[in-house]
């Protein structure tokens, strides 16, 4: 899964041709660790249809602040440069599948 930074967010997420699922996380957050394998599975499963990336909020405060992320993990689905859907906290995989399928 690709890591996106404050500096590359616009290019990688806002200007992406495909919808992008962005996982906001930090290294010491337990639930974030649980979300990571789910994101990796989704990344493979939707290969070619959506992009899945992660943002470390600890190192990238600007983008987290701009998007008003107040809890992690937060997973946001971007389409055509806009946040379309967001989930705060861990969810089972099929909850994310439903969210993605709605926007494909």
């Amino acid at each position: 899964m690709k890591e996106v930074m404050d500096a590359t967010f616009v290019e990688e997420v806002m200007n992406s041709e495909q919808p992008v699922l962005v996982d906001f996380w930090a290294p010491w957050c337990g639930p974030c660790k649980m979300v990571t394998p789910v994101m990796e599975e989704l990344d493979q499963q939707y290969d070619g249809k959506i992009k899945v990336v992660k943002v470390n909020v600890d190192e990238n405060p600007e983008i987290s602040e701009a998007l008003r992320i107040t809890s992690i993990p937060t997973i946001v689905l971007f389409k055509e440069g806009q946040p379309k859907d967001a989930v705060v906290g861990f969810r089972p995989k099929n909850d994310f599948e439903k969210m993605i399928d709605k926007h494909l």
Binding site: A26, W28, C29, G30, P31, C32, M34, P37, V38, E41, V57, D58, P61, S64, R68, I69, T70, S71, I72, T74, V88, G89, F90, R91, P92, K93, D95
Partner: protein, 286 residues
Amino acid sequence: MSDRYDLIVIGSGPAGISAAINGVIRNKKVKVFGSRNLSEKVQKAPRVDNYLGFHGITGNELKDVFSQHLEKMQVEITEEKVDAVYALGKYFAITTKDNSYEATSVIVASGVSNKKSLEGENEYLGKGVGYCATCDAPIYKNKKVAIVGYDVHAEEEANFMLDVASEVVYIPLYGQPEKIKDGVNVVLGRPLRIEGNEKAERLVLHNDHIDADGIFILKDSVELDQLVPGVQIEDNHFVVNRKMETNIEGLYAAGDCTGKPYQYLKAAGEGQVAALNAVSFIDNMQ
């Protein structure tokens, strides 16, 4: 990674132990989380007349009978509080403060807590209100945070937050704090509600209010949808069908946490139904 259990049971009241016993009878590798005293709600009952086979028994006597039964079946109880159950698709990860466990199937039999949420708590959840201060600390770098602590364990999180935030206000709901660091601003008071606009902005106490960028509510008991993220809840109870299945495959619930009536025999019966269906689920997975 840890050894995987067939079945993990969360809760050691009548529902949980009935589930565990039935899982063990079917030769499953079972682990039960709870307390050695089983359940306060069993222990403290003055007199029980409606448990089939026992007339006029005290709760404490009933607890002893349950404990002997567990002993005979060599079921041990692990005294750790479960923080969360994560449905990872092919198995579940169960986390406690210090450990993490894996199981093919999970039965939640955690009873009900009657602590109500604060007004505004649910509305602003994820919008400035959170339940895990250590998780969200990086977001509150150089900001002001208020932490409501329902028990002493919350102090650790408040101390941790002090390293990051510009100001930490701690509101203990259990009396004087014991190990809070200098620098944390302790305020005694009873929280009433959380106010804000798009985001939470203020914690209102009965005699005061605290403006904060982030508000954390650290409870001793975990809300059901925090315990199992993604599970379907209605009126503070798990939604289950006749097989005690929740909306998450492989996850069952039994006892008071599925709804009324709140009774021992109903809890024990549901625990059994949940266990037998979990056993079929486990057998199908193998």
